[in-house]
C-alpha cells in the first residue's frame, strides 16, 4: 500500500470545494432567463378534483404560466413507473394504479402535485399558487396498511381491483409449518418497523432547460443515478428522446435512496420549459421533502421462530404487511420482497423459512428504498427475535447466536441467497471485546447507584449489497440490469480521467476511485480525475445505491484498468525492446523486470498519442472502457453492541456506548468507510430512538412534516462510536470488497431496542422508543 493507494486514509480530494462554499448543487445553478416553479399540491389525502380555476392566479404579477395535468396528457407525457414486476403467489402481476406527474381527476395523498406555476420569482410563483381555486370532493382516507386490507376500506385506485398490490411468498411454507409444529420452543413477536422520512439535507431540486433551436433538453437534478433518470424519462415518460436529453446531477447533498427515483417535479420542469419557452427551476422546501420524498420502511410483521431442545433454530415463518403509500415508486415493489425476505436467514443455519409479504396502497406518500431498503426490516425481525428467544430460553444472547451461526461457505439459504464468505464469530468476538461485554454487570450496578437503568443489546446482521447479477435480477422482475460501466482515459501527458456510471453524493468516489488508479499505475493521486454525474460525459451507468459503487462500480474500473495496463505494457515493451510479459509497473514507471531498463508512465502515454513508434498494427491512443456485471451479491456482516441508560423518571434513553464490528472485505479508504458506518449507525439510532412518521388516521394529514415534530438525530442525541473491522475478502469481485454504505443503518436498530428492553425488562417496545413510550412501558411494568 502506498500513501495514496488502496488501504490508505487519504484525505478527500473533493472536500476543498465544500469547505470553502464552492460546491455546486442544483439550486446553485443559474441560467439566463431562468424562471421559478411552485407546485400546487393537494391539501387532502384523498379527494376528487371537481374544478380548477386559475384565472385570478394567471393575472398575478410575474406569472408566466400555470400548467395542468390535462396539458401534460395532451403532450403525451407518460405515467410514473415502477421498475420491478412482482407476481403474487397465484401468478398474477402486481396491481398498478396510474401515477400521473400532475393529478387530473383524483388526489391520493397530501402533497400530490396538481399544477405548476411558473413565475419571475419564487415568491411570485407562490403568491399566484395561493390564488388558484380548486374545488375538491373529499373521499374517505386510509393511512394504515393493515386497515387498508380490511373489507370496506376506501379503495385508492379504482383500476387496481383492491388496495392489495401483491401477495407474495418466498421459501417453503409447508416445511416451515412442519418445523414450527415440531419445535421444542417457539418465539413469537409482533413487530412494527416504523415509517421514516429520508431527510437528505439538500432538498430535491430540478432545473429544466429546453433549447428550441436545437430541440434539445437539459435537466440539472438532485439524482443518485442520472443515467437511469435519462433512460426512464425518455423511454417511459416521453419527455425527450435519449439523444436529445442531457441529465446532470452535479453535487448532490445526500440521497440515502430518496434521490434514486424520478419524481414528478423534474419531469414537469423539463416539460414546462418547453411549454413556456423559459428555463424552469424548482427548489423544494423541507415541507415538500417531508410530504413528497419517498419514505422508507413501514412494515407490520408477525414472526414465529422455532427451536429444538438444543436451542438450534428449526424453522422460521414471517408474515409482513408493507405500506407502499398512494403510488408505486420506482423500486417500491423490490424493497419489501427481494431485498427483504431473502435476508430472513440472517447469520444463521435455518433449514426451513417462509416469508409472506402483502404490499398495500394507502393515502400516504409513496414508500421506497431508504438506506438499507428491506435489509434493516429483515435484520430487525431476526435480531429482535433472537434476543427475545434468548431471554425466553434463559441463555445468553451471544451463546444462542453462536450456536446457530453459519460456519461454512458457500452457504445456500432457503431464501435464494448463497452467502459466499464470512466469519460471524470473528465480528461477534471483536464487538464483545471492544464493548467490554464481560464488564457490563459492574457498569449496570454503577448506573443503578445513580438512579439510572442500564441495558445492553446486540445485533448480528448480514446484508446483501452490490445488487446483481443482471440476468438474475432480470429473472426476478427487475426492469433494468445492475451492472456498472467505466472508461479510463490516459491523456497524452500521462494524467488520467476515469469516467464512471456511479454517482457520488457524499461517498467520496473522487478520492477512493482515484486511489485505485494510483495503486495500479503509481501516478500521483492529483493526476487522476473522476468524472461522473453527467450523461453528456459518461455514456451510461446505473448510479449509486444499495452500497454498489465499490463492489460494482470499482470493479468496472478495474476491468478498464486491466485493458489500459495491457496496452500500456505492449507500448512499453516495444519502446524498451523487451518482451511484453517482462514489463512491470512500479512507482510510475514501466520497467523490464530484473533490469534497470524503464520508461516513465508519461512517456509511454505520450508515445501512445504521438504514434511515431508503436508496435506494428496498434491503434494510437490509450483509452479503454468496460462494463462489469457481478456474479453474485456481496454479503457484508457484523456485530453491533449498544449500551443505554434510561432515566426512569422521564423515560429518556441515552446511548452511552455503541460498538460496531463490521466485515466489509477489502477496504480502500478506512477513513471513508468509518464515516459511512458512523452515518449509518446514526440513522439507525434515529430510527430506533427518535424518528417517527405520524399521519392522522382520519384526515391523512402528515403530522410530522417539519423538524418541529420529526426528530432528526442531533449531535447531543448520539455518542462517539467505536468502530472496527474484520476482513473476509469477497470472492466474487476482483477487489474483494463488499460494500459499507448501509450496514450501519441495517444493524443498529435492533441493538438499540434490545438494549432498552434489557434496561427496562420488557420485550414489548416499538420504535421509535421515545421518552414517553419508554416511561409508559415502565409504568405498565410497575
Amino acid at each position: 500500500m502506498g500513501i495514496e493507494g488502496i488501504g490508505a486514509r487519504v484525505v478527500r480530494k473533493e472536500d476543498k470545494r465544500f469547505i470553502t462554499g464552492k460546491g455546486r448543487f442544483t439550486d446553485d445553478m443559474v441560467v439566463p432567463g431562468m424562471k421559478h416553479a411552485h407546485f400546487v399540491r393537494s391539501q387532502h389525502a384523498h379527494a376528487r378534483i371537481v374544478s380548477i380555476d386559475t384565472s385570478a392566479a394567471e393575472a398575478m404579477p410575474g406569472v408566466i404560466g400555470i400548467l395542468n395535468g390535462k396539458q401534460l396528457t395532451e403532450d403525451g407525457i407518460g405515467n410514473i413507473i415502477c421498475g420491478w414486476m412482482i407476481h403474487s403467489k397465484d401468478g398474477s402481476p402486481m396491481n398498478m394504479g396510474a401515477w400521473r406527474p400532475l393529478a387530473t381527476d383524483t388526489v391520493r395523498y397530501v402533497g400530490d402535485a396538481i399544477l405548476v406555476v411558473v413565475a419571475d420569482s419564487k415568491a411570485q410563483a407562490r403568491d399566484a399558487a395561493e390564488a388558484v381555486i380548486i374545488e375538491f370532493e373529499t373521499l374517505p382516507v386510509v393511512t394504515s396498511a393493515v386497515k387498508a386490507l380490511e373489507a370496506g376500506s376506501p379503495q385508492i385506485h379504482p383500476e387496481a381491483k383492491s388496495n392489495l398490490i401483491f401477495d407474495w411468498g418466498l421459501g417453503d411454507e409447508a416445511a416451515a409449518d412442519a418445523a414450527l409444529a415440531g419445535a421444542a420452543h417457539v418465539t413469537e413477536l409482533n413487530i412494527v418497523n416504523n415509517r421514516l422520512v429520508p431527510n437528505a439535507m439538500e432538498p430535491r431540486a430540478a432545473l429544466g432547460v429546453y433549447d428550441a433551436a436545437e430541440d434539445h433538453y437539459t435537466v440539472w437534478t438532485t439524482s443518485q443515478n442520472p443515467h437511469v433518470a435519462r433512460l426512464v424519462m425518455s423511454a417511459f415518460y416521453n419527455v425527450a428522446p435519449e439523444n436529445k436529453l442531457r441529465v446532470i446531477a452535479p453535487d448532490v447533498g445526500g440521497g440515502f435512496g430518496s434521490k434514486i427515483y424520478i419524481y414528478p417535479e423534474e419531469i414537469v420542469c423539463l416539460w414546462a420549459s418547453k411549454r413556456t419557452g423559459v428555463p424552469v427551476k424548482w427548489n423544494g422546501d423541507r415541507t415538500e421533502a417531508f410530504l413528497t420524498d419517498a419514505h422508507g420502511r413501514d412494515h407490520v410483521t408477525t414472526v414465529r421462530m422455532g427451536f429444538d431442545a438444543d436451542n438450534r433454530i428449526v424453522g422460521l415463518k414471517v408474515d409482513t404487511v408493507a405500506n407502499l403509500g398512494a403510488y408505486m415508486s420506482l423500486f417500491s415493489s423490490a424493497t419489501p420482497t427481494y431485498l427483504y425476505a431473502t435476508l430472513l436467514s440472517g447469520q444463521y443455519n435455518i433449514p426451513a423459512i417462509y416469508g409472506n409479504v402483502r404490499a398495500v396502497y394507502t393515502n400516504t406518500a409513496p414508500v421506497d428504498a431508504y438506506r438499507g431498503a428491506g435489509r434493516p426490516e429483515a435484520t430487525y425481525v431476526m435480531e429482535r427475535t433472537m434476543e427475545t428467544a434468548a431471554r425466553e430460553l434463559g441463555v445468553s444472547p451471544a451463546d444462542l447466536r453462536r450456536k446457530n451461526f453459519i460456519r461454512s461457505f458457500p452457504h445456500q439459504t432457503p431464501v435464494i441467497m448463497c452467502y459466499d464468505a464470512g466469519d460471524f464469530e470473528a465480528s461477534l468476538n471483536a464487538a464483545m471485546e471492544a464493548s467490554d461485554y464481560q464488564g457490563f454487570a459492574a457498569r449496570r450496578a454503577e448506573a443503578a447507584s445513580r438512579g439510572k437503568l442500564r441495558g445492553i443489546g446486540m445485533s448480528c446482521y448480514i446484508e446483501a449489497c452490490g445488487i446483481a447479477p443482471s440476468a438474475a435480477v432480470g429473472s426476478l422482475g427487475a426492469g433494468v440490469g445492475l451492472w456498472e460501466s467505466a472508461e479510463v482515459r490516459v491523456n497524452a501527458v500521462g494524467t488520467i480521467e476515469v469516467l464512471t456510471g456511479s454517482h457520488s453524493h457524499g461517498q467520496g468516489h473522487e478520492t477512493t476511485f482515484a486511489q485505485l488508479v494510483t495503486e495500479r499505475f503509481g501516478v500521483p493521486i492529483n493526476n487522476v480525475s473522476i468524472v461522473h454525474g453527467d450523461t453528456d460525459k459518461v455514456q451510461m451507468g446505473m448510479g449509486t445505491y444499495g452500497s454498489r459503487s465499490g463492489a460494482v462500480g470499482m470493479s468496472a474500473i478495474v476491468k478498464a484498468l486491466d485493458k489500459v495496463e495491457a496496452k500500456a505494457k505492449k507500448i512499453a515493451a516495444h519502446l524498451l525492446e523487451a518482451d511484453e510479459g517482462d514489463i512491470v509497473i512500479e512507482n510510475g514507471e514501466l520497467k523490464v523486470a530484473g533490469t534497470d531498463k524503464s520508461v516513465p508512465w508519461f512517456q509511454m502515454a505520450l508515445a501512445a498519442y504521438t504514434a511515431h513508434n508503436l508496435p506494428s498494427g496498434m491503434e494510437p491512443g490509450l483509452k479503454e472502457g468496460a462494463f462489469y456485471d457481478p456474479s453474485n451479491f456481496t454479503f457484508p456482516a457484523g456485530c453491533y453492541i449498544c449500551e443505554v441508560e434510561v432515566d426512569p423518571d422521564t423515560g429518556k434513553t441515552q446511548v452511552v456506548q455503541f460498538v460496531a464490528a463490521d466485515d466489509f472485505g477489502k477496504i480502500i479508504n478506512p477513513m471513508i468507510v468509518e464515516g459511512q458506518v458512523h452515518g449509518g449507525v446514526a440513522q439507525g439510532i434515529g430510527q430506533a430512538l427518535l424518528e417517527g412518521t405520524v399521519y392522522d388516521a382520519d384526515s391523512g394529514q402528515l403530522l410530522t412534516a417539519s423538524y418541529m415534530d420529526y426528530t432528526m438525530p442531533r449531535a447531543d442525541d448520539l455518542p462517539s462510536f467505536q468502530v472496527s473491522t474484520t476482513e473476509t475478502p469477497c470472492p466474487s469481485n476482483p477487489l474483494g470488497i463488499k460494500g459499507c454504505g448501509e450496514a450501519g443503518a441495517i444493524g443498529s436498530p435492533p441493538a438499540l431496542i434490545n438494549a432498552i428492553t434489557d434496561a427496562i425488562s420488557t420485550n414489548n417496545l416499538s420504535m421509535p422508543a421515545t421518552p414517553q413510550k419508554v416511561w409508559m412501558a415502565l409504568q405498565a411494568g410497575k
Binding site: D15, F18, D251, H505, Q507, H678, G679, S706
Partner: protein
C-alpha cells in the same frame, strides 16, 4: 422595495430587493455566494449559518433589511489569502463532511463556538452547542472531532502568540 448596504466578506455591497427578502436569499441570489444553503423552513437545520456583526445567526431567519449596515461573513469569506481557516482544515483532515451540504453552516457555527469558548471546549459542550446544526451523513462523530481539534489548534496558536 428597499435598498440595503452592508459589508460582506470585507467588501461593501448594496442591492435593491423586496422588503420580504431574507438575508440568505440576498446572499445567494443577489451576491451569487451560493455556499450558504437552505435545508429547512423552520430555523433548525443551520445550513444557512453566517456571521452578522461577529455572531453566528441563521440567515434564513433574518430579513436582509435587518442586516442593513451590518458586517456579514459567509463561508466564502472564511479562508484568507488562499489559506484555509483552521476549522476548514480540521473538517477536511478529520473527514467531518460527506455530502458537503450542511458543511458551510457547520463550519460557520464551529468558528463561532470556538471563539466564544476559547480553548475550553469538550465533547459534551461541542455536542450541545451543535443543537442548531443538523447533519444527515456523518453521525456527527467526525464533526465533533474536527471542532475539538480546531479548537486546540487555534487555542495553541493564540497561546503561542501571547
Amino acid at each position: 422595495m428597499t435598498t440595503v448596504t452592508m459589508t460582506v466578506n470585507g467588501r461593501p455591497v448594496s442591492g435593491q430587493c423586496e422588503d420580504r427578502t431574507l438575508l440568505v436569499q440576498f446572499i445567494r441570489e443577489n451576491l451569487g455566494l451560493t455556499g450558504t444553503h437552505v435545508g429547512c423552513d423552520t430555523s433548525q437545520c443551520g445550513a444557512c449559518v453566517v456571521h452578522v456583526d461577529g455572531k453566528a445567526v441563521k440567515s434564513c431567519t433574518m430579513l436582509v433589511a435587518q442586516a442593513h449596515g451590518s458586517t456579514v461573513v459567509t463561508i466564502e469569506g472564511l479562508a484568507s489569502g488562499g489559506e484555509l481557516h483552521p476549522v476548514q482544515a480540521a473538517f477536511r483532515e478529520h473527514h467531518g463532511l460527506q455530502c458537503g451540504f450542511c458543511t458551510p453552516g457547520m463550519i460557520m457555527s464551529a468558528t463561532d463556538m470556538i471563539s466564544r469558548h476559547g480553548g475550553k471546549l469538550d465533547e459534551k459542550t461541542v455536542r450541545a452547542e451543535l443543537e442548531g446544526n443538523i447533519c444527515r451523513c456523518t453521525g456527527y462523530h467526525n464533526i465533533v472531532k474536527a471542532i475539538l481539534s480546531a479548537a486546540e489548534t487555534m487555542h495553541g496558536a493564540r497561546q503561542a502568540a501571547e
